[in-house]
């Protein structure tokens, strides 16, 4: 079945509207800077334009994250190694949108939990983001990352355990996080 151009355009526009931000966030997490993340995400959407729509249908999110990840890994390979997130590089790339982070300045707990997240091993950060930020299932995360479902489970488990251990008591009255044994 040949998709009409209008349908295709609408499909891509919908995908852009829904996943542009999430993919950029994800790619930035992998690559450490927004500029390369943009390249990767643009590539991802261009690939979506070229792709046969049928196999993608119904699996758009894992498809996009998988392609995005492959593109990011390609970039990493090409440039040698993954560079850890460099905060100064992020400062130079302000988001074009008003940053909710500013509005949250009083919310120390949220900032702290993100700080803690930033100290976790990259693989844990990645799966925690895919799970809790992009709401992918363990199955989908497994498909995107190529890790087994049980490995994903262990990474999320260990990641949350560290978060609990290190954010203990940061938000009295709101959440009670007990120190992990």
């Amino acid at each position: 079945m040949i998709e009409s151009q209008e349908t295709a355009a609408q499909r891509i526009a919908d995908a852009l509207a829904r996943y542009e931000g999430p993919l950029l966030r994800y790619a930035r997490g992998l690559l450490g800077d927004l500029e390369r993340a943009r390249d990767v995400v643009q590539e991802t959407f261009l690939q979506l334009c070229r792709a046969d729509p049928a196999p993608v249908d119904g699996h758009l999110a894992p498809w996009l994250f998988t392609v995005c990840r492959h593109r990011a890994v390609d970039v990493q390979r090409k440039e040698g190694r993954l560079q850890p997130l460099d905060p100064s590089a992020l400062d130079e790339q302000p988001s074009p949108e008003p940053t909710p982070a500013r509005r949250l300045e009083g919310e120390d707990a949220l900032r702290e939990v993100l700080d803690v997240l930033g100290t976790l091993p990259p693989s844990q950060q990645e799966v925690l983001r895919l799970k809790l930020q992009e709401h992918l299932s363990y199955q989908q995360i497994s498909a995107v990352t190529g890790l087994s479902v049980s490995h994903v489970g262990v990474l999320i488990h260990n990641g949350l355990k560290s978060v609990r251990a290190r954010c203990a008591g940061t938000r009295p009255g709101v959440v009670s996080l007990r120190r992990v044994r």
Partner: protein, 734 residues
């Protein structure tokens, strides 16, 4: 459900649970509390993540995408223009390399993709569908699970039949050449990927990952649970267990850890503290010639990560490097090489380097080797089973007709794949190695039993009888409980068969388990991450790896209170023994191979310096008084080094003893080996962020290591220098 520290519980808390967990939670209040706490943490994190700004594409980037929708629908502009016929013809022979060019200005990421096109068949549509879990859900039936370990690159077929015919013989030749280069590039890239695999998850599909893909994405909870179970559930025993605690001398024999362990992956070990000589005159420990930690630290640094402190074992880093110790005198099993000079990181302290080495063999004894190879699904990545095969071939190349080799594989079940074979029957052995394939889950216990049985049946008296285990340590069925696995190996070690454990491409969880296996199995443990490393362990240091010349080697140092106020053993934290264990021949300790050397560093505080020994708050004894110093203490000796060891097949230990004085040597008058060892220790202390690192800086480490580089025939020391540079780059970024 094994306890509250279980990934299944976390999965349940984030709505990924299976029926079994649900039932377990329903039945236990403790689990319910735990689930609530996990949910709280997850909610907090999800809230924080939701509040993160979502970046956006630049307007022109978004426009380019929108334009591309129309463009790709209307016409696909081929980058490589040639006729369909020629392309197909060429492809039959060589495959086609197509370079994709994007319709907009983006960094020129050129992706070589080899496509095989059959003549007369139109090239596939330019779909770049990546592997997605769409089997069964696919509406076209075209998608299939992708098991190709190569990442699915974008595939654009530059073939619309509208190109100009410009192919000729020279053109074809150029393309063949281009394709060859592209393939080499892919191989190189994959090599590069391998190195970074554990830290930067790459799209390499383990078969278990592939299984996951074959499952319909809309799997029912039951299917999901079944899949989960088929994957061995969660290695709760591994993650939740007390890693590295079993069967070991307690770390805190002398001291309680000052902080709770905060990393899951590696057993926590506090740095040994300074101990006062009057109250602790004896320092006793088992030797350790393992080197795995260095290779692991190198992997982290090469991946652009500082290693977690607990992954850094200073004694294993020290012992990674060959030192230029003179061989022992004839008929002596050991020689001791001792140097004393100021500690570079605290010049008021003295640093004692004790080097022990054994003689190289003139002739390697006949070897009876049983390769025990993990072929479970997790071994599929290129840095695991394929590297194991390469490593085994390297080893087999060294064997002669006097040697015997057998091979056992284990996955879901274990089996003999090569009966005992003469070492010079290479073709047979290589063929068995080549046949190794990964698949299935891991039952380490059964394989170990079978391997030991084979080794025992072909025992060569006076020879090197050894089981060589190659695994990623991911035992997930059968005897998975570390305690019983270690006990099994400990039991088997009594048969006189030694064990070498080689970890390949491991994640973090198995590190302590493999080390414990090697410890208890009278063996050694190495981490092999590259062919280079395989060559070091199995070819260059083959005798040290295969031929044990002394077992249960223990060291006891007695310090002279007249010369030393307090001392600190650097590294060996998990090798400490009680003083009375030294002469207790039932207490297991480390093994040394032929030509091995062991390097030990002590940092000493001379009397009258800082840190007076803390007073023990005990009333003076009514009936005894403290004895004074002996005559020997007045003789000016600094310490006395005592070593006990057993012959490889012996049961009774023999003692050796060396008195040591301090000649007040200056640091720059020491041997290169001394300075290099000091550099390695300082580097390790910095990476561990040890409270004892003193003035040590990475720049100092570089200076010392450079001064101590010596001849460095194999380039090992040069490699350390590059790692220090990398660590410097990384710590600056923090």
């Amino acid at each position: 459900m094994t306890g509250i520290d279980d990934p299944r519980l976390t999965a349940y808390a984030v709505d990924e649970g299976d029926a079994e967990t649900k039932a377990a939670v329903a039945a236990s209040e403790e689990l319910q509390d735990e689930v609530e706490e996990i949910r709280d943490a997850a909610r907090l994190l999800a809230e924080a993540l939701a509040a993160e700004p979502a970046p956006a594409l630049l307007t022109e980037e978004r426009d380019a995408i929108v334009t591309a929708v129309g463009a790709t629908r209307r016409r696909r502009r081929p980058f490589v223009r040639w006729s369909a016929g020629l392309a197909a013809a060429a492809a039959v022979v060589i495959g086609v390399v197509v370079y994709r060019k994007t319709p907009v200005e983006t960094p020129p990421v050129q992706q070589p993709v080899a496509l095989n096109v059959s003549p007369g068949v139109e090239a596939p549509a330019p779909s770049a569908a990546p592997p997605i879990p769409a089997v069964g859900a696919s509406t076209t039936g075209k998608s299939r699970p992708v098991r190709d370990p190569k990442p699915a690159g974008p595939v654009v077929v530059a073939n619309e039949g509208q190109g100009t015919l410009n192919g000729n013989a020279a053109d074809l030749k150029t393309r063949v050449e281009a394709e060859r280069r592209a393939r080499e590039e892919i191989v190189r890239l994959e090599q590069a990927m391998k190195q970074s695999e554990p830290r930067v998850p790459v799209p390499v599909l383990s078969p278990r990952g592939a299984e996951a893909r074959e499952i319909n994405i809309q799997a029912t909870p039951d299917q999901y649970a079944a899949h989960y179970a088929a994957n061995g559930g969660v290695p709760g025993g591994v993650v939740g267990g007390c890693l590295g605690c079993f069967g070991r001398v307690p770390v805190d024999a002398y001291r309680q850890p000052s902080a709770p362990p905060n990393r899951e992956a590696y057993a926590y070990r506090a740095d040994s503290d300074f101990l006062g000589v009057t109250q602790n005159p004896l320092s006793t420990f088992s030797i350790d010639v393992d080197t795995a930690s260095y290779a692991n630290v190198r992997r982290f640094l090469n991946d652009g990560q500082l290693p977690p402190p607990d992954a850094v074992r200073i004694e294993e880093m020290l012992n990674y490097f060959p030192y230029d110790y003179a061989p022992p005198a004839k008929d002596e099993p050991f020689a001791a090489h001792i140097e004393v000079a100021p500690a570079p990181w605290n010049t008021a302290h003295r640093l004692v380097r004790i080097g022990l080495n054994t003689r190289e063999l003139d002739k390697r004894p006949d070897s009876n080797l049983v390769f025990l190879v993990d072929v479970s699904g997790s071994m599929k990545p290129a840095n695991k089973l394929p590297l194991v095969k390469q490593a085994l071939r390297l080893l087999v190349d060294q064997l002669t007709k006097r040697d015997r080799v057998a091979m056992v594989v284990y996955a879901g079940s274990a089996g003999e794949v090569l009966p005992p074979t003469r070492g010079d029957e290479r073709a047979t052995i290589f063929e068995a190695i080549d046949r190794l394939e990964s698949g299935g889950s891991t039952n380490g216990g059964e394989g170990i039993e079978l391997a030991y049985d084979l080794a025992a049946r072909n025992f060569i008296r006076g020879g090197a009888n050894r089981v060589i285990l190659a695994t990623d340590g991911d035992f997930n069925v059968g005897t998975t409980d570390e305690g019983s696995l270690v006990r099994l190996v400990e039991e088997k070690a009594k048969t006189g068969v030694f064990l070498s454990v080689f970890g390949f491409g491991m994640g973090n969880y198995q590190d302590s388990r493999l080390e414990a296996l090697a410890d208890k199995g009278n063996g050694n443990y190495g981490y092999i991450d590259t062919v280079h490393e395989a060559r070091k362990a199995l070819v260059e240091q083959m005798n040290a790896t295969l031929v044990t010349v002394a077992k249960d080697v223990k060291i006891q140092v007695e310090f002279n209170p007249a010369k030393v106020q307090s001392y600190r053993l650097i590294g060996y934290e998990n090798r400490l023994l009680r003083a009375e264990d030294f002469k207790d021949d039932t207490k297991d300790a480390g093994e040394v191979g032929a030509g091995h050397s062991v390097t030990v560093l002590y940092e000493l505080i001379p009397p009258g310096r800082e840190k007076p020994e803390p007073e023990r708050d005990v009333d003076p004894l009514a009936y005894q008084k403290q004895g004074g110093l002996t005559e020997a203490a007045k003789g000016g000796e600094l310490l006395r080094l005592k070593v006990r060891y057993k012959d490889p097949e012996g049961q009774v230990s023999r003692p050796k003893e060396w008195p040591v004085g301090d000649r007040e040597t200056k640091l720059d008058a020491t041997s290169p080996d001394f300075r290099f060892a000091a550099a390695v220790a300082a580097f390790g202390m910095i990476l561990r962020d040890s409270p004892h690192k003193g003035d040590a800086t990475l720049d100092e480490v570089l200076k010392l290591a450079e001064a101590g580089r010596g001849p460095d025939r194999h380039g090992y020391r040069a490699e350390l220098l590059t790692l220090v540079h990398k660590a410097k780059g990384l710590s600056r970024r923090d």
